[in-house]
Every structure is written in C-alpha cells, then in structure tokens.
C-alpha cells in the first residue's frame, strides 16, 4: 500500500456529488438559454421599460443561480450566504445612493439661487 493512500470516500458523499453534477449540467443549459433570450429580447419591438425589467430579472436570475449552485452557497453554511449578501447589500445601497444623489434634474435649483 502506498504511503500516500487516500481515505475512502463516503458513498453518501459520492452520491450527493453525482446529484450536484447533474444540477450543474442543467444549470449550464439554462444559463445558455437565458443568455440567448437576453440577446433576442433587446431587439424585440417592446416598450423599453418592459425590456429593461425582463433584462433585470434574467440577469439577477443568472447571478443568483451561479452564486447558489456553482458557488455552493445553497449547500454551504448560512454564515457564508449572509456574508456575501452583506457585501451585495452594501454595493446595491451605494448604487442607489449615487443614483439618487446625481438625479439633479429632479432638484429644484431655484432654491439655491
């Protein structure tokens, strides 16, 4: 027997990994389909607000699909999920604050004069 022999892998763990493997394949197909749909939808003669909403939903869906399955957050410790959500939340809050700050056309500039 080799001095570097690996411990045997638990059968349940192996079954779980195989199940995840199939999830990854399904997810990859969905990601490709959604990306294709994103490209198609921008050329459809639909109202801009509707297309923008659809694009947002699709990209947020892809984002969380990768985070939850490919990055294992759905299987992993809750603490890691909340750590990432905290970073995401701060990024979104910064974005919202900046958009609000720079929406100066809504500010009554007469007030300053």
């Amino acid at each position: 027997m080799s001095a570097h022999a690996e411990p045997a892998i638990d059968a349940n763990f192996l079954a779980e990994e195989t199940r995840r493997y199939h999830h990854f394949i399904t997810l990859a197909l969905w990601l490709a389909v959604i990306t294709g749909a994103e490209i198609v939808v921008i050329f459809l003669p639909l109202p801009v607000a509707l297309v923008l909403t659809v694009l947002t939903v699709m990209s947020v869906g892809k984002f969380f699909a990768v985070v939850l399955w490919f990055m294992h957050l759905i299987y992993d410790a809750r603490l890691l999920f909340w750590l990432f959500v905290a970073g995401m939340g701060l990024a979104c809050a910064t974005f919202t604050a900046l958009i609000a700050l720079f929406s100066f056309e809504r500010v009554d500039t007469a007030w300053f004069s």
Binding site: P7, L31, F70, A77, F102
Partner: protein, 219 residues
C-alpha cells in the same frame, strides 16, 4: 451536512474559505462602485465620444453584440467547467479535475483574447481612456474585470501544474480548488451584470436608453 461541517474551526467553516468569501463580499462593493460610476456618467454625458477626426460617435454603433455575446457564453461555460473541476476534486478524480481546469483556462484565455480584440477595435475607432468620460469609465470597468480574469487564469495554471506534484489531494487539496473556483465564479457573476448594464442596455429603444442617438444628430 454542509460542505464546511468537517472543518475544525469555531465557526465550522474553513478559514481559507471564510476569508475568500469576505474578499468576494468586498470585491462586490468595489465592482458596485465601478458599475455605478459608469452608469452615472452615461446618464450625465449621454453622447458617445468624439474620435480623432472630431466626429461624435454613437456608442451603440461601436459595440459588437455578437462578439460580446460569444465571450459571455464562453465565460458562463468556463464557470460550468470550473464547477465540474471542483466536483471532480471532491470525488478524488484528479485526471477529470485536470481536464476540466484545462478547459477553464482555455475559455478564460479566449475571453481575454476577445477583450483584447475589442479594446484594440475600439481604440482604432477613436475611443481612448482619455478622450471621453465614456472611454474612461468603460475601460476602467471592463479592464478591471479583465484583470480579474487574467489573475484567475494564472491561479488555475498554477493549480494545474501543482496537481502534478502530488500535493493537491485530500480535503485540503479539494478546498484549495474550491476557493479558486469561488474566485472564478465571482468573475463570471460580475460579467453577467456588466453584460447587461454596459452592453445590452445600449440597444434599448430607438434612440438608445440614454437618448444618445438623438444627442449625436443634434448640431
């Protein structure tokens, strides 16, 4: 059982993995500010850019949606291969890990090649980092992402060669690969957002979402 339950730490999570998630959370904020800056300046300066001959150019005419879609698809599939590489490592299948990682490296290099081509093309069309606000925010945002991809490729190349030393095995080896995988997937999710908010939104509406087409034809 969670992936981290076997780790002998007070949180039950391996420290390397915890640190990586903290880094990714902070990188989220970093890219959040870059994306916000780009969108704000697109809103404030909706005209595209002025090339070397003094012509105002519309951003939509500059972008090549086919190329960007192709590179997006490549990056998404690289993420899939990375997930398979991590799975193979968890199962102790080192040969499968090497095959998948080679695929990720190849796809990463194709993505970088597309980005170099795109930057060169834009430069020849007159868009530089200095001649417009759009150029500055666009190159900084996509260039920072490209740098992340390049670092990821380098990391995976090192892991690939490290696997031949025989030291990349067991729980620690799988964890090292998983952490590299987290970084790679993060690069992918950032691109998912960039693809939508930088590229796709430019095609919305007859005048572009920022009204830039109207601005370009105004004397």
């Amino acid at each position: 059982m969670s992936d981290s339950a076997a780790a002998p730490t007070s949180t039950g999570i391996d420290h390397k993995k915890l640190i990586m998630w903290l880094f990714l959370a902070s990188d989220c904020m970093f890219f959040g500010t870059l994306i916000s800056t780009h969108l704000l300046y697109r809103k404030l300066y909706p005209t595209g850019f002025t090339d070397a001959e003094g012509h105002v150019r519309f951003v939509q005419n500059l972008f090549d949606i086919e190329l960007t879609s192709f590179s997006t698809f490549i990056l998404l599939m690289s993420s899939f291969l990375m997930a398979l590489a991590v799975s193979a490592m968890h199962k102790g299948q080192i040969a499968s890990f090497r095959r998948n990682v080679l695929g990720v490296i190849l796809f990463g290099l194709i993505f970088l090649g597309c980005q170099v081509y795109e930057f060169t093309h834009f430069y020849h069309k007159g868009l530089t980092i200095q001649n417009s606000v759009f150029g500055s925010t666009f190159y900084v945002l996509t260039g920072t992402h490209g740098t992340h991809v390049a670092i990821g490729v380098l990391w995976l190349v090192l892991l690939y060669f490290y696997s031949f030393t025989g030291k990349l095995r067991g729980h620690i080896g799988a964890l090292d690969v998983e952490i590299a995988g987290l970084y790679w997937h993060f690069v992918d999710i950032v691109w998912i957002i960039i693809f939508t908010v930088v590229y796709l939104v430019e095609y919305l509406g007859p005048n572009g979402i920022w009204g830039s087409a109207v601005a370009t034809i105004t004397p």
